[in-house]
Symmetry: D2
Subunit: 137 residues, 4 copies
């Protein structure tokens, strides 16, 4: 299991006229959390694309628990609970500075070989970075 | 059952460097489809808020089937399969101009009384507009 | 001179907690107006990129005259007052359904040859579409 | 004179299919820089609105010098060169991690009394925070 936490400050442009973060913007927060999780694993998503592999999202689920407000300092907790195969699952828990849970969600991404534009397995270079967190004993 | 279809042209600013629509922007497309469905029912979401009721999203699910591209003319099909109670479900199917299914999803919204900031039932004014589509015989 | 008008409905996700359209979103409206202006000239921006030329913005100026609100049906008037050379100027006037001027702006774009990544002249194919609107007598 | 610098990491959702930051997203970066400048002065924009004063943008100018790319760590330098009266000017210089200037711009904001919805002078509470940086001798 690998857990990563990243802080995000809510921007004015991310709120809507309800005075809360617009529901579509959580996808951006998930992205930031996910990318910083990969960076902590030792591989930036930028490098992955340079390497010829991209990771489009094929499924997202968002649960809006409480409203996030302008200028809130959110914590995006990202949980990777198993090694990726062809698919890569991420779980997200977003809470505000008072520790109140704001949002829970998950995404499934796939690896795409940018040369063939076909689904491929998790690149070895990423696999190696992740293994230490997922091997027992 | 009530079905509504709305066209949306993909904007350049909605794509990302993969050359496809950014996965977070489908929430905007769902919103447009949902709002136009309500308008066709005879009630704009704008009026609903004027009336003192807002409808935040509490759950969203998105399935990314194929990539949508810049300048694609998408059709957002919105399906309401039952009368809303405290919750209001919408189903979405987005396809491109060739009829290829791009995205499937659903959202659950709740009605909030803006005076008390508490969950409330579907306002009668909206209920009356919807009944003709959901009563049999 | 070439003038084009396009309608845009303000989305909820484009407002901010002031209850108005977020100031950064006018760039999206300019884009939609500009792209539809080109389409009316007989050439989509999509085709232009297929053709190997892209048009990044090098300068933008926005004047926020009145607030645009959620669900407003805006008219984006785009004015091209001279043939493009290396640079391509667009003027914008956005008004709401009551005819009230909301926003005035302008952008300067350049043509980039996507093979060399260098600035180039306006492609002949576009020049030919535009000439009828800019020649006298 | 007051100068503030803030770092922003470019998000994937902020790029477009050219592979660069979409031109409309710089307004968000200006906002983040401006808000952090105010925070360093000792007053968050959030507090200002709580206090009953909002600051809509009435004019923006953006100069796109070089492209910013995905995952770039940008520095937004904000320069306030004089005390605000009814208007509040901000200058921006955005550069990437190699120190290359990416974007230059400026915005003019006004103070609005949220009770009357009319333009007002800079609130004393903010004026006091700013004075030490603008008085000589």
């Amino acid at each position: 299991m690998f857990i990563s936490e990243t802080n995000i400050r809510v921007r004015y442009g991310e709120t809507d006229q309800m005075g809360y973060v617009y529901y579509g913007n959580y996808a951006l927060y998930y992205e930031v959390g996910r990318v910083e999780a990969l960076r902590k694993l030792g591989m930036s998503y930028f490098e992955l694309e340079e390497f010829g592999v991209m990771m489009p999202v094929v499924k997202m689920e968002c649960n809006y628990v409480k409203a996030a407000k302008y200028d809130d300092l959110l914590t995006v907790k990202v949980i990777i609970d198993k090694m990726p195969g062809i698919r890569f699952h991420f779980y997200y828990e977003i809470s505000n500075a008072s520790g109140v849970l704001i949002n829970k969600g998950e995404t499934t991404l796939v690896f795409i070989d940018m040369k063939t534009n076909k689904v491929c397995k998790c690149p070895q270079v990423l696999e190696k970075k992740m293994e230490p967190f997922f091997t027992n004993g």
